[in-house]
Amino acid sequence: MNPAVFEIGKFARLTVIWLSIIFGAVWAACWAVGVFAPALINASGMPTETASLASEVLRALVPVVAVAVFIPINAMFMVLCERRALALFTVRKGPNRVGPDGLLQTAADAVKLLFKEDITPHGADAVMFTAAPIIFFAPSIIGVLPLLAAASGNHELFRSVNLPTGIFYVLAIASIPVVGIVMGGWASNNKYSLVGALRSAAQAISYEIPLVLSIVAVCLMAGTLDVVKIADQQKDSLLSWNIFGGGALLPYVNLVVAGLQGNNEQVQAIMQHFQAQPLGPFAAVLMVVCCIIFFGIYITGACAEVNRIPFDLPEAESELVSGYNTEYSGIKFAIFFLAEFTNLFVVCSIASIMFLGGGHAPLPGLEQGFTEMLGGILKQLPGSKEIFSPGWLINSLVNPSTVSQAFWIILKTYSLVIFAILIRATLPRFRIDQLMAFGWKRLIPLSLILLIALTYLRELV
């Protein structure tokens, strides 16, 4: 057999193992804090008021625990995933020495970085030099909170972090890391770092606009900033995803289906609807095109926001040595490194929630079928109402709809991550003036035009 198949298999195995470790850990931590501990408190015979307050505090802490557990492990996995995927694209094997299949490679790297000497260069502004990685990393941790609710199918434990201004919150927080980069670059007392920092600032500001505009387009179609609502609007099928016009094509597909089934009444009903909107089909197709272009703009802007190739000018290894993190070493460098990958994950998960239907399956019956099947199995368990019985344990642990949604969102997000890695393996880097010109002269006008077009098309569909 072709040895490449083995390599792909190893990569898949490694991914599955890591993901089950990550999400198992998150799940266990959330369950322990949000379900098990409150149950214990309630059962312990404390005064009811104190007990319920304590359990509410614990349940409010769940999202924080989930993110605190998830972010570092996930960043470690993403580093490994990137290295293995790059190896696949470049006919190599990648790190495969530490642990089975190189499973523990990044864990080992993290330990190595922890024990490395922490150097502050001569003439550096020590306070800012230290603060920069923190300011760079902190937003990516607090920024993902509103996404939790959408990713878990609005699970009751995460409902509290679902802000009405959810996506705006995420974008606002995501604009902070550039402060960290500028701070670090300036505080390093190194010309290369400084140039990297300046570039980063210019780039982040330029590409934030198309990025936000593409998100605005989605919000415009959805009519809300609430991520859970946006995700829920796309639950029907592939066609109701925002990348395919948020259901613009749905009536026409329904028409075709009804026509094929010979359901004349339904055909009549839909046809009447069309007569009110004669330009409807045309507008719908245009809208789909607009949305796909917006998705492209989003991906481009996101790559620029998280400094990925072809927009990795702040680091630009061949020009600026290592850009803003040239002078960093040890744990501070590790934080920069982890934050970069976390940011990548965040933008990919935003894309999958906003454009790719969040945690909903691409085909209509899939999600419901799975949920019903798992729910049916869970109902069979004995004593599912009694606290601390095995049935209760499993029921409180496994929520069918959350399982399904988590699966799909992981699949979508990591597919986007792999796509970003593929881009990284292929494209060369922009030059700074070309980057700015591309951002200001191409992407921003394009997204503005499309945004206006979309508002009108939306009325016509």
């Binding site: 072709n2 490449a4 694209f89 006919v91 094997k93 292929t426 494209l427």
Partner: protein, 255 residues
């Protein structure tokens, strides 16, 4: 306007072509050689660590202490200690040292060796803890009979004929080593014989001013002087090889 759109679409197309080309590589077998697990398949010509071969058939040491390699080495990393045996009047090899820290693996010594004694093995893992440990002495350099056989076949070298046992070779062998020993050691080259022997034989008519085996005569005077003085030094140093060995040994164990 349409030109702009056309260019954008074209650019996007070519980016996608690039992405697809890279993505296709996922289906190819990795070219990685996992080095310590699978050793590289090095060709016979590979110039690795230097070693002294023995006759693969008779296990007789092939070195005749002619010092050709010592003379030709650009790095001067070879150091031969030999003395003339008082009984037979023949050169006797006492010690043969190669400083692999100096060696640049050019392979010139193996080309000039009249008895195909000094050869490049395929061994390239010679890392050690001290520079002294890279100075290999006669014992460390000499290959076993099996290894010699392996390299002789791998490098397509002709198996040298064993030296005639009584060997009443004239004492002049010291002055004209190549002449004296190359003749019996050079059999009719078989088909696979590479480079030096065959080429030398073939090129004889072209290189008119160079009678074969005339190296000692054409030796530059300066070098001759240096060699002579070195020789005399070696002669003096000869009685104490064990001391040198004793010095080398602790270093090695230390490492």
């Amino acid at each position: 306007m349409f030109g702009l759109v056309g260019r954008a679409v074209e650019s996007l197309y070519y980016v996608c072509v690039g992405l697809w080309t890279v993505a296709k590589h996922t289906g190819r077998a990795p070219i990685t050689k996992e080095f310590p697990d699978t050793m590289p398949d090095l060709p016979g010509a590979f110039r690795g660590r230097l070693a002294l071969a023995v006759n693969p058939e008779t296990s007789e040491h092939l070195c005749i202490s002619c010092r050709q390699c010592e003379r030709v080495c650009p790095d001067k990393c070879i150091d031969i200690t030999a003395h003339k045996s008082p009984e037979t009047g023949k050169l006797e090899l006492i010690d043969f040292k190669i400083d692999h820290g100096l060696c640049m693996f050019c392979g010139l010594c193996t080309e000039v060796c009249p008895t195909t004694c000094i050869i490049n093995t395929n061994d390239f893992e010679m890392s050690d803890y001290s520079r002294e440990a890279l100075i290999y002495d006669l014992k460390k350099l000499t290959l076993t009979q099996d290894e010699s056989a392996h390299y002789f076949s791998k490098k397509y070298l002709p198996i040298p004929k064993p030296k005639p046992k009584p060997a009443p070779k004239p004492a002049a062998a010291a002055a004209k080593p190549a002449d004296g020993v190359a003749a019996p050691a050079k059999p009719a080259p078989p088909a696979a014989k590479p480079a030096e022997g065959a080429a030398a034989a073939k090129s004889a008519p072209a290189a008119t001013d160079k009678p074969a085996g005339d190296a000692a005569a054409t030796k530059p005077t300066a070098e001759k002087k240096a060699d002579d003085s070195k020789d005399s030094e070696k002669e003096k140093a000869a009685p104490e090889p064990s001391a040198a060995e004793g010095k080398a040994e602790p270093d090695k164990t230390e490492g």
